[in-house]
């Protein structure tokens, strides 16, 4: 197991996928002091009700709060290593089918009950139980059971090797919650979360506000944390402010000490301003990508998909819309994920002339209005959307629509409420979709592209035996080098066959007022408030 000294935290080089900070006072020499309340205006998008059960919903805004309430067994460290958290150490069996975790013996949940091997078994069994219909079940992969060896030793058994296990365990979606509280609150647990984290849940106002208070007994921060002992802040108040202009306003007028997902035009100004500090980190992610419906004509023809791709100038689109605050993506995987293949950078160029030739050869004739058609069928691409302009996605599409129009594609945007969107995706009733999926391991490619493994409403409709075989092989390989080699092939294949077109890498950022120190972004790209404090 790796031991990392407390001194070398949060010093990852900016751009290497770790936390980077800018602004005038990113590094301060003053010593932290305890106390105070931090109000965070966060983008809760279309949250109807907070659901703070870490195992229940995969929605990122919830997990940004949950991370402060519940701890995980292990923590993700730079260079794809894992460090101790609730588990002091662990061993993997030779066949890769069981992991023995030696747990800390001094940890208590916020309700006073003891954290132990039985609690670990309870959590994973609860997730695995189909009756509970919990979303985190896919993170456990081929999980079979947890054997309680003694009070503080738990053995997790799998039916076959599962390479992403440790990475998934470090995610908040497999954070450990109090079994007693789950039993006590039942279906109301998502609004009464109890974990072992540095902050405990105090109260919420539906869809608008969550209040956390410091857990004074906390002394089990993860490896790499900035200090030992309890958090500095007395209270954390998360305010759901869905409108970006309002987030900017409340940060500017000082009502909020920090705000996330600030629009690019404001972010640029705030980076340069001494009044603010920007903390940012890459979200470990299957990058936001476009998916043509490969099961539908004419997108089932690889050449039409290629023509579509060659018509796009993604660099131009991302620069125009994100103003340099987000990088253009070359691979499906975000750069800090294991197996990301840097060789893909610059591997193709927009080529509208070649796209036009391809379409000409295939019999798609340019009509009077510039849109191509073949045997009376127009080259119309219906882009189905449900999330609106989150992360400027519709703005991006608007730019790309013009690029596509130049080679004869007619892109229409069909905005649907969530329910009908999912139903149409299920039925395959669309031409083009966009989407991202946060994940700590390249196995996310299997969750998107493998028919046997992906969800019924996955954005990808790809059914490619070669791809499937590679993805299965990589998921059960326990050799990182072998996995990297396989994923390099997979990324190339997905790009060459235009199964998806990666657009941008999301850098998640929190802008704080200059007096707020120590906010960090973890390896997954989620905010940490454990080391945060307020300079008086």
């Amino acid at each position: 197991m790796l031991v990392v000294g407390l001194a070398c935290k949060r010093v990852d080089a900016p751009g290497a996928g770790g936390t980077s900070a800018s602004g005038s006072a990113a590094v301060s020499s003053t010593t932290p002091h305890a106390g105070g309340e931090l109000v965070i205006a966060f983008d809760g998008a279309a949250i109807t009700q907070f659901s703070l059960d870490p195992h229940k919903l995969p929605f990122a805004p919830h997990h940004r709060v949950i991370r402060s309430i519940a701890d995980s067994l292990v923590v993700a460290l730079p260079n794809h290593r894992f460090g101790s958290w609730l588990a002091r150490s662990w061993e993997r069996s030779a066949d890769g089918r069981s992991y023995t975790f030696h747990l800390r013996d001094d940890v208590r949940f916020h309700d006073g009950t003891r954290f132990d091997a039985a609690a670990v078994a309870f959590n994973f069994d609860r997730i695995k139980d189909p009756k509970n219909a919990l979303m985190s079940v896919s993170d456990l992969g081929p999980y079979e059971r947890t054997v309680v060896i003694d009070d503080f030793t738990a053995r997790v058994e799998l039916s076959r090797p599962f390479a992403p296990l440790l990475a998934n365990l470090s995610k908040s979606s497999l954070a450990i919650v109090s079994p007693a509280a789950v039993a006590k609150y039942g279906v109301e647990f998502p609004t009464h979360p109890v974990g072992t984290g540095p902050f405990r849940f105090e109260s919420l106002k539906p869809a608008t506000e969550i209040v956390l208070v410091k857990n004074p007994d906390y002394r089990w921060p993860p490896e790499g944390a900035g200090h030992a002992g309890a958090a500095w802040l007395e209270r954390l108040v998360f305010k759901n402010v869905p409108e970006e202009a309002t987030r900017v306003a409340v940060l500017e007028n000082g009502q909020a000490g920090a705000a996330d997902l600030i629009p690019p035009q404001n972010l640029i100004g705030m980076r340069a301003s001494p009044t603010y500090r920007v903390v940012a980190g890459e979200l470990l992610n299957h990058n936001y990508s476009l998916y043509l419906n490969v099961q539908r004509e004419p997108w089932n023809d690889e050449r039409v998909r290629l023509a579509f791709k060659l018509s796009l100038d993604i660099d131009a689109a991302v620069k125009t819309v994100h103003l340099g605050t987000q990088a253009r993506a070359w691979s499906s995987l975000s750069p800090s994920l294991l197996g990301y293949d840097p060789a893909l950078v610059g591997s193709w160029k927009p080529d509208p002339a070649a796209a036009a030739r391809l379409l000409d050869d295939l019999g798609w004739q340019v009509g009077e209005d510039g849109v191509r058609s073949k045997q009376g069928k127009r080259l119309t691409v219906v882009f189905m959307d449900t999330q609106g302009n989150r992360e400027k996605r519709l703005d991006l599409l608007t730019v790309m629509r013009r690029q596509l129009r130049a080679t004869g594609f007619d892109v229409r945007i069909d905005s649907q409420p969530g329910g009908s969107y999912q139903e149409k995706v299920l039925a395959g009733d669309f031409d083009l979709l966009g989407g991202s999926l946060f994940a700590p391991d390249p196995d996310v490619l299997r969750r998107i592209h493998s028919p046997a493994f992906r969800g019924a409403t996955s954005v990808s409709k790809v059914d490619d035996p070669e791809l499937e075989r590679l993805l299965e092989q990589a998921a059960s390989s326990l050799d990182d080098e072998e996995r990297k080699a396989i994923y390099a092939r997979v990324q190339r294949l997905v790009l060459d066959r235009t199964y998806s077109i990666p657009i941008y890498v999301l850098e998640y950022s929190v802008v704080a007022r200059e007096s707020i120190e120590g906010i960090a972004i973890d390896r997954h790209g989620f905010p940490l408030f454990f080391d945060a404090w307020i300079r008086s």
Binding site: S51, L57, A207, T208, K239, P417, S420, A456
Partner: protein, 310 residues
């Protein structure tokens, strides 16, 4: 009079019942399966099916409607598909916020609309009237959303006078209430102004003038009372604008409220929640209309005379 009122009440109940039924049908006919949405992006077909059974979908629509109406009569609005909490609990926790927002905004609308309408009519054709008319034109031309953002920028960011986020005090309500109120006041303002100007040229005013009644008394007592009658009727229409505006204002100012709840519930196809929210909105609408009718009878002697004659 009493019979008339009873007929009104009965008609109002029918309107609410009709709205509920229509909405039930529309929501059920709309494409989109709540179960796929609740189960989430990664869910398998089995999980979606499990969720579907869990929330009681897949039964015949007639059966669902019968159960819905039956529980409605017992005061049970059902359980949210998404959060599994009773809809009534959720709506009643959000309702006070919306009520205070819309009541406050109505008050602002009446004060601003009637006040400036009177001033405008009094200075009819002069620069003050023209200024108010131009401002009103500008206000009706901008969306409520833009007005909200602008007021946040000016009063909260530049001047630093007012907070935006709810901090448990009265102050964060000023901007949202003010914005919504001012936004709704414009049609009222124009109606009061035009009504006053029109009334002042009516024969009865000339008669009163000839009888030597003072200008001030003439204007405020006789003309204004006449001009207010259409304004009060307009209030019953404006309640719709208020509720629609509340949706935008609640989102923009990150407030709780039934409007925001309804929109988000529509997005997640949380049918019981949508139905509950619309039931509240339609009941509110109908109640306000009923009150307006009663108020008109109270301030307009002509309707009383008609009622007696009927």
């Amino acid at each position: 009079m009493m019979r008339q009122l009873l007929a009104r009440v009965f008609a109002s109940i029918s309107v609410v019942f009709g709205a509920v039924t229509l909405l039930f049908l529309i929501l059920n006919w709309l494409p989109g399966d709540p179960a796929t949405l609740i189960a989430g992006q990664d869910a398998s077909a089995e999980m979606i099916e499990r969720v579907r059974t869990q929330i009681g979908l897949g039964r015949p629509i007639g059966e669902q409607y019968r159960d819905y109406i039956a529980s409605l009569l017992r005061g049970d609005l059902g359980t949210s598909y998404v959060t599994r909490e009773p809809v009534l609990d959720r709506i009643s926790s959000q309702f006070p916020a919306t009520l205070s927002l819309t009541l406050g905004a109505s008050l602002v609308a009446v004060v601003v609309g009637v006040g400036l309408g009177v001033v405008s009519a009094r200075y009819h054709g002069r620069w003050l009237d023209q200024l108010i008319q131009s401002a009103a034109l500008a206000l009706v031309s901008v969306p409520a959303f833009w007005l909200g953002i602008l007021s946040i920028l000016v009063f909260s960011v530049w001047l630093g006078w007012l907070p935006v986020l709810d901090d448990g005090t009265f102050w964060p309500s000023v901007l949202p209430v003010g914005c919504l109120g001012v936004f709704v006041s414009v049609p009222l303002l124009r109606l009061v102004r035009d009504g006053l100007i029109g009334t002042l040229s009516e024969p009865f005013v000339m008669t009163l003038r000839a009888k030597g009644l003072g200008e001030r008394r003439l204007f405020f007592v006789h003309a204004l009372r006449n001009a207010l009658i259409p304004a009060v009727s307009l209030l019953s229409v404006l309640i719709g604008d208020l509720l629609a505006g509340a949706v935008i204002i609640e989102t923009l100012f990150a407030r709780q409220g039934v409007g925001r709840l309804a929109v988000e519930a529509i997005g997640s196809k949380d049918l019981p929640m949508v139905q509950g929210a619309i039931l509240f909105a339609s009941t509110g609408y109908v109640l306000v209309n009923l009150l307006v009718d009663v108020a008109i009878v109270a301030i307009d002697p002509r309707t009383r005379a008609r009622a007696r004659g009927a």
